[in-house]
Amino acid sequence: MIKITAPLEKNVIKKLKVGDEVLLSGVIFTARDAAHKRLSDLIKKGGRLPINLKEAVIYYCGPTPPPPGLPIGSCGPTTSSRMDRFTPELIKLGISAMIGKGDRSEEVRKAIKNNKCVYFLATGGIGALLATKVKSASVVLFKDLGTEAIHRLEVKDFPLIVGIDSQGRDIYAKAKWKSE
């Protein structure tokens, strides 16, 4: 098992190969549909973003609220493909990695390859188990969006699989059910 730490350095990303199983520690930021839409609208308006996304690891996740004594509730990944329409512009802003579930569009795959990013898969539907890997959580932006606000999470040994590596190799590329 490969252990890596966020923010991810380019030479670390370069070494990751599609299908590798990794344990991620460090700081990641949640953002899903509504937060992506807001960021995209702000980018279109041309203003400065209220958050620095340079080298950020974005996690497509809308957690449940924290029960007493825990930093976060259940916090598994949501379907990544819904974010595909926004991803190339966020990659342009310098995000280094994304975490979600499921396959991505060809456009996203190319953007990942061209900008030497990485896309990780987390297992969907195991949010209670993944919650045990989160050490702290706080809302940093768009609080009014509730679960869809951008949360800063500090994770320890968060289990992931490399879905698309920095060379653009896609774990789902050879899935026979897709090509049929």
């Binding site: 509504a34 579930k101 679960t147 059910w177």
Partner: protein
């Protein structure tokens, strides 16, 4: 007439929302355990084992099985000899949902308007289906439905002379299109017959039937078995990463239909298919 207070229904709905979100159904868990034994791919086995471990943690820590705690679908079977007292039934159900989601630290995943998309922040309103039945009991089934899988559902209005093969191809195509997004291994509810709306509701109700149970009609049961076998041979596997386990269960509910038609609805559900029921 037997009097039933709507406050009793409110409290029951609240209890069932919590139970459904924290405790994976025994039939679903049993199907996942059986899949682990049957699975030969190492990665597929690991994913299935993590799903079992997740269910254990969710139950013991009172954490949601999945962070998508769904929009709440409530199925009511209301005995015709019941007289509801104490206020509005609909309000009582929504109060029960709101209380469970607020106190149980479950996610508010409902927006009040499909275009404005402002979160209602208490996971109401629920989607409520009411059936009037014989007797003086009220059966309440609560099923929180996640949208990773709901988004992959489909309906097709076949012509009456459609072959079994055409129907199977449609259903298999739904699973292929759902691909990774529906959190496979999936569970399918199939509604056949009735009308456009009735077929969809039957498909939703089919998800409440125990995994492993089958339609009482032999030709329907055969179709169920064939579909399960064909879908599992697609090789999608847990999380779409390959393996023998693409589907955990599939159940058909059917109803008479018009001479000119054959509606088939497919409600896709994830491996965390959740529901809980109680009769009062």
């Amino acid at each position: 007439m037997r009097k039933v207070s709507v406050s009793k229904i409110r409290d029951t709905v609240a209890d069932l929302c919590l139970k459904a979100n924290f405790e994976l159904r025994e039939d679903v868990l049993a199907a996942i355990r059986a899949a682990v034994d049957n699975e030969t791919e190492a990665r597929a086995r690991r994913i299935l084992e993590s799903i079992i471990e997740n269910a254990r943690l969710a139950k013991s820590k009172r954490l949601a099985i999945c962070q998508d705690t769904g929009i709440v679908v409530v199925h009511l079977q209301l005995g015709q000899n019941v007289s509801l007292t104490g206020g509005s039934l609909i309000s009582a159900i929504n109060e029960g949902v709101s209380r469970a989601y607020m106190t149980g630290c479950l996610r508010s995943s409902v927006v009040g308007d499909v275009r404005v998309r402002k979160n209602t922040m208490n996971n109401t309103p629920a989607v409520i289906h009411t059936e009037i039945v014989k007797g003086d009991k009220v059966k309440i089934t609560v099923s929180p439905k996640g949208f990773g899988s709901e988004n992959k559902s489909a309906i097709k209005m076949f012509i009456p002379t459609a072959s079994d093969e055409e129907i199977e191809d449609f259903i298999i195509e739904v699973v292929k299109k759902a691909g990774t997004g529906a959190c496979p291994p999936v569970i399918l509810g199939i509604g056949m017959g009735g009308t456009f709306d009735e077929a969809s509701l039957l498909a939703k109700k089919a998800l409440l039937e125990p995994v492993g149970s089958s339609n009482p009609k032999p030709h329907m049961a055969k179709l169920e078995r064939e579909l399960i076998s064909k879908i599992n041979s697609l090789g999608i596997g847990p999380m779409g990463l390959g393996g023998k386990t693409t589907i955990l269960g599939l159940r058909i509910l059917d109803y008479p239909t018009h001479i000119a038609g054959l509606p088939v609805a497919v409600n896709v559900s994830c491996h965390a298919t959740r529901s809980a029921e109680r009769t009062i």
